[in-house]
């Protein structure tokens, strides 16, 4: 991010469709930023003209929304810089309209120590173009055995706790971690996939796996872990977030837990509301993600969960893999896909299909994740950070993985025709990405 200029820097965004899920605003108008903050917004703020010293951006009636907030991205650093770095990952985020990224702790070394959390914060400021927030491990080295210093890690800046794409198998370890977290009001985000039930599975268990001769991942692998966790939340009262669910059963379980008034939330990745297991087709390793792409019934249940508010946030599950990790027999290929650059266009599919309103779709990418992880941003309001995305909701284009700014080029959405694209991404008042 650029150095502060001696005089106040003003940018006037005119002629925009202002979209703010936190207030429900969806109206034509303008927005003024002064330095890193939103100074004013509304339908008539530029009625008497824009301020003389302001840079003027004509939004041409397109959508101006809070920058997207992604709660679950693996940015490679430290330890997997050949797949992604904070520099490339945040540029990939900016290209997708994402202005805040929470990185997962599954790095090498694991983010289970104060020094590493501070490293991410430092590196984010030094080399990132969007906000980078560390989440820290719940257990040391992600081994699922010993609790990390949750309290001190939170003081150091960890915004949430998770073992990344790994589940904590030992129920007592999970219970103690949840219980301990309540002393500090911390949130634990969990990958709900019982490793025992996943076994050697590589794709969704079902007819297709049978035909392909691939080892299947049981549907129950997710819901059993989730139900266990919810029992533990009931016992401890801890704040709990199921990071990325994929099955109809999970949607039902979360819905029931919320009806009980439990402090439970959940997220879903675009892969799981936009794709089903058929993407695996003839052993396409780009469609190998975790949790796996599920059946069409599951996908529909996920969409229903988004519609009725059971699913709180949409996250990228950005997990870039290099070519060597994907150009292998399906069973040997790595799980994961680039997700930051496709978050918005795939999210917009929900709007184009009439499954969610624009505001409701954006809520799951802005104000809801901000609220959940207690992050600044995610709203258009006076005094809020000037983190914005200007997007054209209708622009048709074809996703091209080779054009990704991410260091890795693997995506199950490659070659997919989509509608809608981020044109300008603004972080703290500065444009960090401009399309075209």
């Amino acid at each position: 991010m650029s150095a502060a200029s001696p005089t106040a820097r003003r940018v006037a965004y005119r002629n925009a469709r202002l979209l703010d899920p936190s207030s429900g605003l969806d109206a034509k108008g303008g927005l003024l930023t002064v330095n890193g903050t939103i100074a004013d917004l509304g339908p008539h703020i530029f009625a008497a003209g824009t301020p003389d010293d302001a840079e003027v951006v004509d939004c041409k009636g397109l959508c101006l929304a809070p920058g997207l907030i992604d709660l679950r991205a693996s940015l490679g650093e430290p330890g997997a810089e050949h797949k992604e770095t904070i520099a490339t990952g945040t540029r990939s985020a900016a290209a997708g309209g994402v202005t805040s990224v929470v990185v997962t702790p599954d790095t090498r070394p694991v983010l289970d120590d104060i020094a590493l959390v501070e490293f991410i914060e430092r590196q984010g400021k030094a080399t990132g173009v969007v906000h980078v927030y560390p989440s820290a491990a719940v257990t040391r080295s992600l081994e699922g055995k010993e609790m990390t210093e949750l309290g001190m890690l939170a003081e150091a800046g960890a915004v949430a706790f998770t073992d990344g794409f790994k589940s904590i198998t030992n129920a007592m370890v999970m219970r103690r971690a949840l219980s301990y977290a309540t002393a500090f009001g911390l949130l634990i985000s969990h990958h709900t996939e019982s490793p025992d039930l996943v076994g050697t599975g590589v794709m969704n268990q079902g007819e297709l796996a049978t035909r392909l001769g691939l080892s299947g991942i049981l549907n129950e692998s997710e819901v059993i872990m989730l139900e266990r966790d919810i029992r533990l939340v009931l016992a401890t009262g801890a704040r709990y977030h199921a990071a990325s669910i994929s099955t109809a059963d999970s949607v039902d379980v979360i819905r029931a837990a919320k009806a009980q008034g439990l402090p439970v939330t959940c997220g879903v990745s675009p892969c799981h509301f936009a794709l089903n297991e058929n993407e695996v087709g003839d052993y396409r390793t780009f469609a190998k993600v975790s949790p796996p792409l599920r059946s069409e019934d599951d996908r529909r249940a996920i969409v229903a969960g988004l519609r009725d508010g059971t699913i709180d946030v949409i996250c990228s599950n950005h997990k870039p893999q290099d070519q060597d990790s994907k150009r292998r027999p399906f069973a040997q290929a790595a799980f994961g896909a680039v997700g930051l650059e496709t978050l918005l266009p795939i999210g917009l599919e929900l709007v184009h299909k009439g499954e969610l309103t624009m505001i409701e779709m954006l809520r799951r990418l802005t104000s809801a994740p901000a609220q959940l992880y207690r992050l600044p941003g995610g709203r258009l309001a006076k005094g809020a950070p000037a983190d914005l995305v200007l997007f054209d909701p209708g622009m048709p284009w074809r996703i091209d993985a080779d054009a990704f700014l991410s260091k890795s080029k693997n995506s199950p959405f490659d070659r997919r025709p989509v509608q809608g694209r981020a044109l300008r991404t603004v972080v703290e008042g500065e444009t960090v990405h401009l399309f075209g």
Partner: protein
């Protein structure tokens, strides 16, 4: 304390605080005061237990409690035998009850027993003829520790009734905490427990205590800060993440102590882990810390308990010269 003297002490054993009324506790504390004073004289002996036999039976290692009982018995004129697990038939596989029966055959008047299992001392007490004093069983009870803490507090000029006491640390595994909660609430004190949720037993609030996870709030305006020992094996990721995190949030240091009343006392049942649950500077503060006084007072309290159990009275002995 302004309680009615109850001269008779009808209990056969001292296994827990539960069985004692506020009046009995008050009288026992008065009696202990007498013995603490006695212990400060040149001649510390009084023949209240002459000819009697006291067996210290420690299934779990101990230095201060065993020595304290030994000294108490000797000052009362009893013959004292120490049995510890090391080199005994217990090591050879004898059951608890068989050991108790064997020792019982030697007609001891009092057996002082410590065991790592909750309830083991009570089980043993059912099988012997003499009196049994619980010197600590598992995570259940340690009545003489609670009594000596109460004497220590009273001797610093504080009334138990209305006193605000924070018990901090590993409540989950602590018999000292349980006995203190029992005694202090019986005597009308307000008890707070301060610990991370992982070190608190389920439903602890049902014991009549306030629960605090934030030590700064828990110590606000308290009269007494009781620190508990955190066992080393519990510090590395199971119950708490690490020593440094534990000390950071739950260790007693100057800054956290400053939230308590200005004249608040610091207590610890020992042995202390300096730099884990307590800062050395605070532990050694002669104006605030009564940790060494607790040890001295322990002997007097144990003399009072032995006297009361063997002679069935809480009356303060009238003696000219011992």
């Amino acid at each position: 304390m302004n309680v009615t003297r109850t001269p008779a002490f009808r209990h056969r054993h001292l296994l827990d605080i539960d069985g004692l009324s506020a009046a009995e506790i008050g009288a026992l504390l008065d009696l202990a005061d007498f013995y603490v004073d006695l212990g400060r004289r040149a001649d510390k002996k009084i023949n209240r237990l002459r000819g009697r036999t006291l067996v210290n039976l420690f299934f779990e290692s101990s230095t201060r409690t065993r020595t304290s009982f030994e000294l108490a018995g000797k000052r009362l004129g009893a013959d004292v035998i120490n049995m510890s697990v090391e080199g005994s038939s217990i090591k050879k596989g004898e059951t608890l009850i068989d050991t108790a029966m064997t020792l019982n055959a030697m007609q001891p008047d009092v057996m002082v027993v410590r065991h790592s299992d909750s309830g083991a001392v009570e089980l043993l007490s059912q099988k012997v003829d003499g009196a049994v004093i619980n010197a600590g069983d598992g995570s259940h009870a340690h009545p003489t520790q609670a009594l000596l803490d109460a004497v220590t507090i009273r001797r610093r000029g504080k009334r138990l009734s209305g006193l605000v006491v924070a018990i901090c640390g590993d409540i989950l595994h602590s018999r000292v905490a349980r006995s203190n909660i029992m005694l202090l609430t019986t005597m009308g004190a307000v008890v707070r427990v301060v610990a991370p949720p992982t070190l608190l037993p389920t439903a602890v609030e049902r014991l009549g205590v306030e629960v605090h996870h934030d030590m700064r709030k828990g110590l606000k305006d308290v009269d007494i800060v009781m620190m508990l020992r955190l066992q080393l094996e519990r510090m590395h990721g199971a119950f708490v993440p690490s020593i440094r995190e534990y000390f950071h949030f739950y260790g007693l240091d100057r800054e956290k102590l400053s939230l308590a009343k200005e004249d608040a006392l610091i207590m610890h049942p020992g042995p202390m882990n300096r730099g884990v649950e307590i800062d050395s500077e605070v532990a050694d503060d002669i104006n605030r810390s009564v940790i060494r006084e607790q040890v001295e007072i322990g002997v007097g309290v144990r003399m009072a308990c032995l006297d009361a159990l063997v002679n069935h009275t809480l009356e303060i002995p009238v003696e000219k010269a011992a």
